[in-house]
Point group: C2
Chain length 538, copies 2
């Protein structure tokens, strides 16, 4: 067989040749921006030309600091298809971590959204490697900024070559992109994506049995483009010629509902809080989401009530995905096997609530101290993953040895495997509650609590206990209408219908809000610290 | 990213783990054979164990000489997943060519269907490398044969290890299989498939935008397993856990119609003559083919009348595919772009009648003496293909240099490209009729003739001409009811409605049958030779 290298250059060339009329719709600060793939490819070539004239060369790291929009998509291909490496920087990092990741990656040029300039200005003095700043704005004039030297994205594009050639001779193992993932303690850890990894991952999410992204789709990644490549959707969508919708800066549930309705989005992906918010919004406004053929939920588990609402009320298949920055990210999906054809609605919800089957190409196992766990849906162990789009190290990081062992990625997630081979994530290794030698899943208790009509959000964490080592305590945020109307005992009674007595939380604390990480997950470490103090003071 | 090798071992391991209950249904000489993937994998391990004890080692060629059935599928994985190479021998080759391919590939062991034994006995004395013969039969006793040493497949399996391990450390570029393709002149040419090539091709045909093979399917390859891996379907179906139906020896249209009806086949693939035969059969019997979600037609172009019947009468999408043994084989498909959503039935037939869009991962161009042809649907040129599942040489064959140049496969097929980027195959380079410096497509004339209600088959070939160099002559087989009822002039008048006068055949010859190649294509070389003589004698 020909020694054809699997690179992103072939993706954009396919879009250019066969799908020049397909649409890219982007919500920007100044309204909805629309253009075709034909125009997109020309602009992407211009960007590659401009960056090259600014000194971009093979292997150089170019950072983006941006929301989801068409310019970000231009960088997605202009950089790797020139042999350079796109560092998609998480805009929600703390100033310290932001400084760390930019310096650690050794970014030479930063592409920055207009409204995010202050965040970079704030750390500018500490950036050791950045030589040039490019501002992405719709305006004619560059905004006032202390960043220097600074360039206007649109100015650069105007002066550059729309026939600039992409590199057609890249090595498939060459780096194409990188993202940093937050660590439990210490600095974020970098994951480098190769062309080959993204190519195979893109193919994998075009399979009928996985996300099935195709030319017929209008894809809207709600998940940020700086989170694990927006779960790989923009790459696959360009390759297959799908229409794309980018929700832009500061999106709200109303904006998402509106975009789905107006642009007839067929496929979208995001974290549970997004879908919770969307459900609320759908109750309020006059929206139509019937164009959606599926909705992907990842990052954390969604409560069954949310799944049930999308599946039964709106008839939108609600597919849980599991993955990590380290896995490109799509690793498992709660798609339905053909044996489910005659399943009842509740049986379907049951399957959807799991993280599902591993995608073709990857390999998983769940291990505890006794080896691989039985497929009983009960025995918990740590989830291990390997495959051609799974990282084998953190970029220049000593912590690699903890996660990558014997050819496997140790995910740090605790899971069970059911008889069908579907996994269910029970907890993070570090969030698992170890009570009297037995394991209690905080996630299971949380989901049960969040299925109660009065509960908006719930986090369950371990507090130290003299006799049992650890015991669970629930932190609950009630829905607006239920403040003061639901008691601790009522919630514990509700839980006791599903769980053994020793699983029930020792306490239920009502809160205004649960602290969250930059990616919208519960910040359990902070809760644990807070409660530890509280309970040791008691 | 991890250096995971893309090999077939991961396919069968996935089937074993996640789809042990899915079905493999196989029509054999003694009836319908059913078993599960669970049982299939155990038997495949047994076969690998048996072959290993017979001396199979890495890189060794093991030949199959067999119809489509479950044992052939066992060999499909037992051999490559042990690091050896599966040579799928075309059972329809002449004794000379058969001898050539087995000796040229240096097959060491042959797996032979019971009813095909005489074909091998016939050439046994000339086989230079074969050391062992294994007979695939349902019977307890081995049939009488002069082949020696000879083994019973089932005997071997019974004595072997159902836990025999597959090789998990294969190089993705290692050879996995090989097929020979017939040449215009001389011996067949060998194509070697690597694990990587089959892996990527399998992924590609699981995409929504291509064949979309998935776990939900029940796939029936009517195309023989010795023709370009049955177009890759068995490999993909095992990986994705689809049910499979194998039609076995000596299948007829009635058998195909019956299997689709009884086994609720969702997806099937074969050459036009198969579908023509199936249409006739459907008129006769009480069949139900509504389970089919699509039908793939390749090897040659089907007449529009056939496409129309499947699309409009039976509501089965009729997808033309184009490919070659050299391209693994799926290269282009007449799937519908999303812009066709509101197209009329006839517009859809028009698209279906072309060979369609290149699949993601491959790259094509059409060139003539002026370079790449315009996308006008008219200008003809030779089709070139490249990509990771396209061969880069013929196995140990000097003729490689003719077909593989500058990183492209020169297909020898003449095609046009329409404005959407869909190709239409107009002719084989060698079948094209060059009349007065202009090109006439024999295939276009044939399809037009075959759309006439009286015509069953038609082949158009060039005859030498003093003034115009070449002129077309049509060879026509009429349907049974029309013998003697249709004249040459009537058919020429019919053609003149669609074609310029200079395209019209100089003559129409009515025949009983059109000679065909071993793969069911018109044997135009024989026709040309015959007519050349006839016309030079006139």
């Amino acid at each position: 067989m020909m020694n054809t290298q699997l690179t992103l250059t072939s993706f954009i060339q396919r879009a250019e040749k066969y799908f020049p009329q397909k649409q890219i719709i982007s919500r920007t600060l100044s309204g909805i921006h629309r253009f075709t793939y034909g125009q997109y490819v020309k602009r992407t070539k211009r960007l590659a030309s401009a960056l090259t004239s600014l000194g971009m060369e093979k292997g150089m790291k170019i950072g983006t600091f941006a929301w989801n929009h068409h310019r970000h998509l231009e960088a997605y291909f202009a950089v790797p298809c020139s042999g350079a490496v796109l560092h998609m920087i998480n805009i929600r990092l703390s100033p310290e971590h932001l400084t760390y990741v930019i310096n650690h990656a050794e970014d030479k040029i930063l592409l920055i959204d207009e409204d995010l300039i202050p965040l970079i200005e704030n750390i500018q003095d500490k950036l050791a490697t950045v030589e040039k700043y490019i501002i992405m704005t719709d305006k004619q004039e560059l905004p006032e900024t202390s960043l220097s030297p600074v360039y206007s994205y649109e100015d650069l594009l105007q002066k550059s070559d729309e026939n600039h050639p992409f590199d057609e001779h890249l090595d498939e193992n060459a780096p194409a992109g990188m993202c940093y993932t937050s660590a439990t303690t210490g600095n974020p850890k970098g994951v480098v994506y190769s062309h080959r990894g993204i190519y195979l991952h893109s193919m994998s999410i075009g399979l009928v049995d996985t996300l099935g992204i195709s030319e017929r789709d209008t894809c809207m990644p709600v998940v940020p483009m700086f989170h694990a490549n927006a779960w790989g959707m923009p790459f696959a969508a360009v390759w297959f010629g799908a229409n794309q919708v980018f929700p832009g800066p500061g999106m709200t549930p109303a904006i998402i509902a509106e975009l789905i309705t107006q642009e007839k989005v067929t496929f979208t992906a995001g974290v549970p809080t997004i879908w919770l918010g969307l459900l609320k919004e759908l109750e309020k406004g006059d929206y139509d989401i019937s164009s959606l053929r599926a909705l992907i939920c990842g990052g954390a588990a969604a409560p069954k009530s949310v799944i049930r609402a999308f599946e039964n009320k709106y008839h939108v298949p609600f597919i849980h995905g599991y993955g990590m920055t380290e896995t490109s990210p799509v690793a498992t999906l709660s798609t339905l096997k053909s044996g489910m054809v005659d399943a009842s609605k509740e049986e379907i919800i049951e399957v959807r609530a799991k993280q599902g089957l591993v995608v073709p190409g990857l390999d998983i196992k769940i291990v505890n101290e006794n080896g691989e766990v039985p497929w009983d849906g009960k025995t918990m162990g740590e989830l291990l993953i390997r495959g051609p789009w799974v990282a084998d190290e953190y970029y220049k990081d000593d912590r690699s040895a903890d996660a990558f062992k014997d050819g496997w990625l140790y995910t740090g997630d605790i899971a069970v495997m059911d008889m069908e081979g579907c996994i269910k994530i029970m907890d993070r290794t570090k969030d698992l509650i170890k009570s009297g030698g037995e394991w209690i899943s905080s996630v299971d208790l949380e989901n049960a609590l969040m299925s109660h009509e009065a509960v908006f959000e719930a986090a369950v964490v371990a507090v130290p206990h003299e006799k049992w080592q650890e015991r669970p305590v629930a932190c609950v945020v009630l829905k607006d209408d239920y403040h003061g109307k639901v008691s601790k005992d009522e919630l514990l009674e509700y839980l006791s219908r599903q769980f053994a007595k020793w699983w029930l939380p020792d306490d239920v604390l009502f809160m205004e809000e649960i602290p969250k990480t930059s990616v919208g997950k519960f910040l359990k470490r902070a809760l644990r610290d807070q409660l530890k103090e509280q309970y040791s003071n008691n």
